[in-house]
Symmetry: D2
Subunit: 394 residues, 4 copies
Amino acid sequence: MPNLTLPSVLAHGLDRFQTVRSRTEELAAPLSAEDQTVQSMPDASPTKWHLAHTTWFFETFVLRPHATGYRPFDPAFDYLFNSYYEAVGPRHPRPQRGMITRPGVEEVMAYRRHVTGAMLEFLAGEHDAHGLIELGLQHEQQHQELILMDIKHALSMNPLRPAYRPAKPPDLRAAEPLAWREFEGGLVEIGYDGRGFAFDNEGPRHRCWLDSFAIAMRPVNCGEYLAFMKEGGYRRAEFWLSAGWDCVNRNGWEAPLYWEQKDGAWCVFTLSGLEPVDPARPVCHVSAFEAAAFAKWAGKRLPREAEWETAADALPECGAVWEWTASPYVAYPGYREPPGAIGEYNGKFMASQMVLRGGCSATPEGHVRPTYRNFFPPDARWMFGGIRLAEDLR
Amino acid sequence: MPNLTLPSVLAHGLDRFQTVRSRTEELAAPLSAEDQTVQSMPDASPTKWHLAHTTWFFETFVLRPHATGYRPFDPAFDYLFNSYYEAVGPRHPRPQRGMITRPGVEEVMAYRRHVTGAMLEFLAGEHDAHGLIELGLQHEQQHQELILMDIKHALSMNPLRPAYRPAKPPDLRAAEPLAWREFEGGLVEIGYDGRGFAFDNEGPRHRCWLDSFAIAMRPVNCGEYLAFMKEGGYRRAEFWLSAGWDCVNRNGWEAPLYWEQKDGAWCVFTLSGLEPVDPARPVCHVSAFEAAAFAKWAGKRLPREAEWETAADALPECGAVWEWTASPYVAYPGYREPPGAIGEYNGKFMASQMVLRGGCSATPEGHVRPTYRNFFPPDARWMFGGIRLAEDLR
Amino acid sequence: MPNLTLPSVLAHGLDRFQTVRSRTEELAAPLSAEDQTVQSMPDASPTKWHLAHTTWFFETFVLRPHATGYRPFDPAFDYLFNSYYEAVGPRHPRPQRGMITRPGVEEVMAYRRHVTGAMLEFLAGEHDAHGLIELGLQHEQQHQELILMDIKHALSMNPLRPAYRPAKPPDLRAAEPLAWREFEGGLVEIGYDGRGFAFDNEGPRHRCWLDSFAIAMRPVNCGEYLAFMKEGGYRRAEFWLSAGWDCVNRNGWEAPLYWEQKDGAWCVFTLSGLEPVDPARPVCHVSAFEAAAFAKWAGKRLPREAEWETAADALPECGAVWEWTASPYVAYPGYREPPGAIGEYNGKFMASQMVLRGGCSATPEGHVRPTYRNFFPPDARWMFGGIRLAEDLR
Amino acid sequence: MPNLTLPSVLAHGLDRFQTVRSRTEELAAPLSAEDQTVQSMPDASPTKWHLAHTTWFFETFVLRPHATGYRPFDPAFDYLFNSYYEAVGPRHPRPQRGMITRPGVEEVMAYRRHVTGAMLEFLAGEHDAHGLIELGLQHEQQHQELILMDIKHALSMNPLRPAYRPAKPPDLRAAEPLAWREFEGGLVEIGYDGRGFAFDNEGPRHRCWLDSFAIAMRPVNCGEYLAFMKEGGYRRAEFWLSAGWDCVNRNGWEAPLYWEQKDGAWCVFTLSGLEPVDPARPVCHVSAFEAAAFAKWAGKRLPREAEWETAADALPECGAVWEWTASPYVAYPGYREPPGAIGEYNGKFMASQMVLRGGCSATPEGHVRPTYRNFFPPDARWMFGGIRLAEDLR
């Protein structure tokens, strides 16, 4: 992984390490031990598990193989906090992460302190694990976002609709009109160009042919989405992919996730509790199926990921919501998985998922970058997925 | 419910109330906030829920209707902690009790203190709710047993096999030989005779004709059950009811619940962690299907509940495990449900369940009585169900 | 099985054999090869399978062991047409009976002719298999009823609502008022008394104590059931057993099976196609849960099977619909399963089923008898189950 | 759809129409009425349904709107034989096609004759429905292939392993060594070029950039696949996509569909019954997951569809098995669905499916063409899917 041994990592290694680790703990701080324990669905994980798993990553991939004399905190944690690395050994079944009441939050925090301590010692010395460490930090940052999307789902199951954090003052801006920007077709290059950090799936950089297209200058907002709903969006098969239409009917979808009607008005459950839907804000928590149906209703389409990446620098409002693309998540031409357990990082998920681009308010700094490829199954709604429109130019 | 207005209740009302309430809290004390929150399957409930629901019972059925000026602790708890009383209003779905991280354990304990305080005040005055209060206490005692059977299941899901309490020193007694006692047939009376407390389903007292039978003087022990297993008990259809055989195959049963093999020997998960199976101890955590299959293998049968009750006073070893009977759980002749929400207590569960008699080590004092009718579906294994044999005499 | 060697069987063996076998074929005659092949749900079987299985019974239990020199028609049929006899060997999974397109109807009919021919030859000689043969005929008669209830379900899946047979002229009788008859309590005897044929589960004859009761002189009719529906019967939890209420909600029940609304009026799918609901006719195709809910709504209860049997001779209108009792299906005191594969006949189904008494228009002659114990799970509706009311007398 | 109004259609319309229609009936001819009725899984359809649905297509899209005075055969067939065209109206649920015993095979054949007759009359006159008619014929040809893949699955459910047609004499050729051909990278054009017929999803023709690659000159054969199996292919997570590995474990896959072991040797169920696996024949009935796992084991990859199409003319052995590509099924740049019900033809399935290229022995003439895009979910195995390898050139 040559892309991981970067001067910037060497320069401020200790600082960055502590900043990232602390940030994770800050995110967990408002949550009680009970909050941190539950798992609201097989796809989501308890906060406590995220705290432990990101720690396990450093213990397993950095300290055990590279730090002489390192003593693992508890050998059983190997089994409990492995997420999906088949090469590392057997692991606790994902849907049962919510059954692990012990270790409790306190013990997990002790585990974090133990590993953070050992890492700081390790970082102070000479080593050639810079790439692995940066990967561990980037990985931990990914889990910071997962902590928020998972706890939002867990709290939403509680009929009391409890808040994770206090509400911000309402944003009083009116909705902006939708502007477009046109791009001439031609041969483009996309993918990781070797500068800064990137995950394996962002490369190799490669050429693509693009036809001329236009792309919207902001994501679709809730007001526009409400218009789709009012025109029978969830009841008219003609807008939907066949699998999406099945999904709508099987699950009884009639609005984005977390939307509920209260006294005739649409509200939305947020990390600050229940709030009225704001027409000017980007619509969020829609599936790829809903994104595609909305686009079809609007007479447009979703952008392909090469279009999105080509236009990225010109997009003024990016990072508010993850933006579904029309592109299934596949390997770039020439992609090879890194060897060993680390190779399980991204490649093996390249089936039946769609790419999202951009980032959201929960995305850590640095992860909102033009080449970042997020991916989820097309029916997933609990991450912060929204919609950007595109269209062909002829 | 005339059966509930009893002098004994009047005499030591306050003491008894406090004793029962404290006992529940003692049972929860060894458990962390995390332990108390999880729900390991739809049939089981979190400890925290039991703590709150038994409190809700007093608030809903005693304080709100009878205590002038009582202020409910939190109106939302009505929805959260109703178990199944349709007449009281809508309720939180049972399978999602494990999603309620808030209120946390501390708030639930405050709820308990609030209601216990109000009850003590109420009990100090004059009132005619003695029957309801005794029912509330009996109900809370039932939940004391549920707390233990549910947390045992929850902890068993943890691959670390954590213990709820320290292990007792091993019992070194050898297995006793199985003795029998014979009973002459004839017309008998069973059911609640008006002395002491009884649940509605224990009455009315009524006559039954019994043919002559013999009953075993102790429950089947693990050594005997191991012999059944060794002779292919779980692989030979001939011993099983058809629905039981389906259950064995669908679930891959090959031993009682909580049994696992370790280095070739059978161990059993207990509230004190994993222990070797003791051949002299009663076998426990078997379903009615397993009990019936064992009995058939042994050339015997399970007792009917009228037989069990008739023999009860002569049974020297009773209360070690709940004993499956051959009797489905139905209303006694002349049974009528009490009016109102309280009437939902027992009657509406009279379908597709089997009666168990006796009691187990988790059963509160006073609940191990000859007329007590416990009931569970025939495939349930997580409560403490064992086997007593009977046979026809001709 | 001493109860099966009966003079009446010896007297007219050949005639009776041919009559029963022909009757089965007459029932299949109106059905196309396609009709006879499908299986509409795991509990039901294709007509073709019934034709073959009843033949397999004679081949397996009579001809192979007792008829010297008998050549089985096709050895593969052993596997295909065994229903549930574990002792006979492996068998085709029940839910996949509808996948057997070959042998086709013609070959199955050839199988029937082959076995009927061999049986007639066998019956002409001396033998001591009279009990087995009578059991085989009774068994075939049971399947005659199953053919009708299963094909009714299969045809009901067809949106064209095809008819199995032409409609009868409408019955213009008005509904009779509901009369009751009282029975004094006391010690009664029920069960098979040794006269005529009976299945193993009808014995042994034994004593029961009954309290005084009254029983309705006719089954509940559709008019009465419509009144229950109009008063919110399917929407009011208070009438339902807990498991029944779950069933109503999970399945969206709002009327008996086969009832559908057409232009605002209730119609019912019958073997003659769709017909208007006739208020004077007994309500049919209700589950035990619906029967119990109706009884509770009416302020009555269902009869216990000992009450039903005691009253049987006094019931003027019996055999129109199977009548759900309040009794779970369990072994009578002293019951022992017959040895060998035949022992799997009835005993192993004694779990989680309810007894029905009486008979219906599809029931073969001789099967409508006071001691006959039919049994189905409490949520089953596709057999012809109706309701008779009873009540306690004090 | 300008691509459908083609001179070739005009020239030999009648002949071609009759040839295609007859071919469908020839395929059904070896099957009994029972065979033609069953549905072995929700994805497959009964033969009888295919016969009727292809007829419904002509009735609905050609005769009703275009043939003056046409009288539909039976209005109910509209509901029964619509496959998935939401715009045409409600339709019978797909998983219940096997419940339709009436109309029977004879009536369905009468329906075919009725519509074929009306079509011949219509074709003899002047009309402008040439495009629609060609689409109907192409559609019917697609169903010819479905008839064979569906009936193979249905017959495979029968433990007698019945044959659809007699076995061919064994092919005694030895396996050929695997040759490769290299292609230089560059800008290519793929998609329908306007000559001959094509489905909507084959266009528009568009440019793609390809890096240099090599492609195998024949599909992977059974001998090679057996080597993968022997090296633990189905037991080693490292070869599998995560979703594929779940699939293997959930379904217990350990060989391609239709393979079974008999006396220690691998056999395969074919349309001619059970046959030994022939190492020289292309492996077939593997999922996209198995194809990808095999390729990874072999150190290669699957071709992308643009690579496949570019190489198509150079592939000597093409049309033996459908060949899984590495490309998810998405719209080509500039693709627009045709308006109206016909627009539901291909576009709405563009989610969670993978493209297969080539054709198989069941594929009708003309459908094995370089631009044809077949598509199935990655876990589907009952169509005739095989493997062709590719690799990057650097």
